[in-house]
Each structure stands twice: as C-alpha cells, then as structure tokens.
Subunit: 193 residues, 2 copies
C-alpha cells in the first residue's frame, strides 16, 4: 500500500493525512494474478481499475482475423483498466492479462466516486492521470498516422526504455503497430548506429 | 457567450450563478477566424484553447512526405487545442485551422487554472472533457489498429453523421486514416445496402 500512498502524493504534490490514507486503503482490494490470468476479458464490463504494485500487464484487442493489437502496457506504479467500460458500464472490446505474476490493488467505480468526494487528493489524482493518459493516447494516435517504424521505435526507446528489455519482441511490435520483421530490421539499424 | 454557459451547465449538471458566469465570461476572449486562417501552426506553443461558438476547425499534422493526417474536427460547442502543448508549453506538432469562417472563445492556460480555482464547475467541466477526450482518443487508437475501413466509416456514421455532410471527402478519408479511393468504395457499398 505504501507504493500507492507515494504515488498519490507525488502525482498530486500533496501530503496525505493518515486519516485520508486510511480511507484510500480501505477502498482498494488486493489481488494477485498469475502470468496469463485475466483482469478483464473482451465482452465483459470492466468492473475494476487496477494499480500495479508488482508485475506487468497488457491491454489488447483481437481483430476478426485473430491478430492481437496491444494498446497499453502497465508496470509497477501504473494504472490499468478500460476507462470507457469502467465509467459507462459498456462491454469492453479489450482483454487485460498479466505478462508476469502480478500484485494489484483494485477499486470499483462506485468506490472511486465515493473516495473522490471524501479525499480531495484523489480528485486531483484522477484529473492528473486523465490528462496524462489523454496526452499519451493522442501521441500514440499521432504516431499511428504519421510516423515511420523508425520514429515509433525511437520514441518508445526514449519514453519507456524499460519496455524494450521487459517485453517480448512480438509484443513490442504489436504495441508499435508494426510487423515483427519490421521491428527486427529497425532494431538492427538502431544498434548499428 | 450563452452557448458556453449552456455547455458548462449541461456537462457538469450544475446551474451557474450569474456571478460565477461573469467570472467565466471575463476569462475568455472572442476571436473570429476566416476560413483557412490558423489558430495554431506546427512548431508554435498552443497558447489558447478554443470553444467553438460557430464554424468548424480541424487539428492535423503533416508528415515528412507532405501528407496531412487529421486528428480531430471541432464544430459548434466543441473545444479545440493541443492539450499537451497548452499544458507543457512544448512546441506543437499540430496545425489547427478553420474549415469555415468561425467564431471562437479563447482562454489561456493561466486563465483556465485561475478559473478552475474560483469556479468549481470549471474543474468539473475540465475533468469531464478530459475523460471524454481520453475515451474518444482511445477509440480512435483502437480503430487505427484493429478495424477495417468499413468499420471505421460505420462508426463515424453512427457517432458523427454531421461530419459526413459537412466536411469534404478527402478530409473524412484523412480523419479515418484511409485513402480517398478506399473511402469512395466504402461509401458506395454503404449506400447500396
């Protein structure tokens, strides 16, 4: 739980009182997932948002040819969940599964709403995360239109070098929206430079 | 200004006091753009966020082959601006220009921050818009990966049928991330059905 406290304090530039943190801690439920277990499966409503204490997960969709497309990775101190389904209670088009044995803290939408009313820092946290997520997602959309495989790889290398070490190549390729062959060629060129 | 008041009240389920609305009105500057004039040019910092009273604009980038990619359209009662550049003061990779003669209300980041402190409904509005924008942008990212031209066209037809009437075909194609030829084929198929 300490990681969550630090995370909230860092992102909101606030010091949480012990009382506020007790309210936060009470709203979350710990959950362990083994590698390959699902937090969310396509067609379900996303009941929980998860804060990652330990491990790694991915959010992806599978198109009607069976090809996986990874939208997001989440590692320690990140959040993962399908925001649209979580808020609107619509069936999710995404799967979220664990890439490593993971330790999560889960919260439901009613619990989060309640917590935002009682702990003002949580409102600031959600606002800050929404803003960052919007910016990050817009960057990815921009990249999906305009940029070459080289540019996408270079941006990932700059923003999240840990991903390149931590996740298998075919998943990195899926995240970048390029084929495994293209990624392999780009990597060889990048290491030669 | 009345349209802005209605917009804030609708999105936040609040009734603004006249005093609060006077603070809101004082923070915005009216601006007229003729068709083809820019609100933002690539490389500039996005100094203003704009609320559209009348007209239509697009946000787009141009890749190094000179191809335009449209990220967003904005019409009456929408907001437009590069959020990342607006918040972080970084040079924007986007252009925003008017597709029709437009009448806007502009606000700077310091003015918006100030307004969020004095008028609580503005904080709720920004949170609501961030959430909707995040969801909409994630949908577009999802579409850019997984879906066919037919699916993208059908989604646009469902979500924003007005866009199909209002904007030229080559811009709709650019927004959907397909070629003009593909769009034309998809449209013919859709109208035959």
């Amino acid at each position: 739980m300490l990681a969550l406290r630090t995370h909230i304090e860092n992102y909101t530039s606030t010091t949480l009182s012990d009382n506020d943190f007790a309210l936060v801690a009470a709203a979350f439920t710990p959950k362990r997932l083994r590698r390959r277990q699902y937090l969310l499966q396509e067609g379900e409503v996303c009941k929980y948002f998860a804060f990652v204490l330990e491990g790694a997960l991915r959010q992806y969709s599978v198109n009607n040819k069976g090809v996986e497309h990874i939208l997001h990775f989440a590692v320690e101190n990140w959040w993962i969940g399908d925001r649209e389904s979580f808020v609107m209670l619509t069936p999710s088009p995404y799967n979220i599964d664990a890439l490593e044995d993971s330790h999560l803290l889960l919260i439901t939408h009613p619990q989060l709403q309640e917590l935002m009313l009682t702990v003002p820092a949580m409102t600031r946290l959600v606002r800050e995360l929404d803003q960052r997520n919007f910016i990050a997602t817009q960057r990815r959309l921009h990249a999906s239109f305009g940029s070459t495989a080289e540019e996408r790889y270079a941006e990932l290398q700059q923003q999240h070098p840990d991903f390149l070490q931590r996740f298998p190549q075919h998943m990195i390729a899926s995240y970048l929206g390029v084929t495994a062959e293209t990624l392999s060629r780009v990597r060889q060129k990048a290491t030669r430079q």
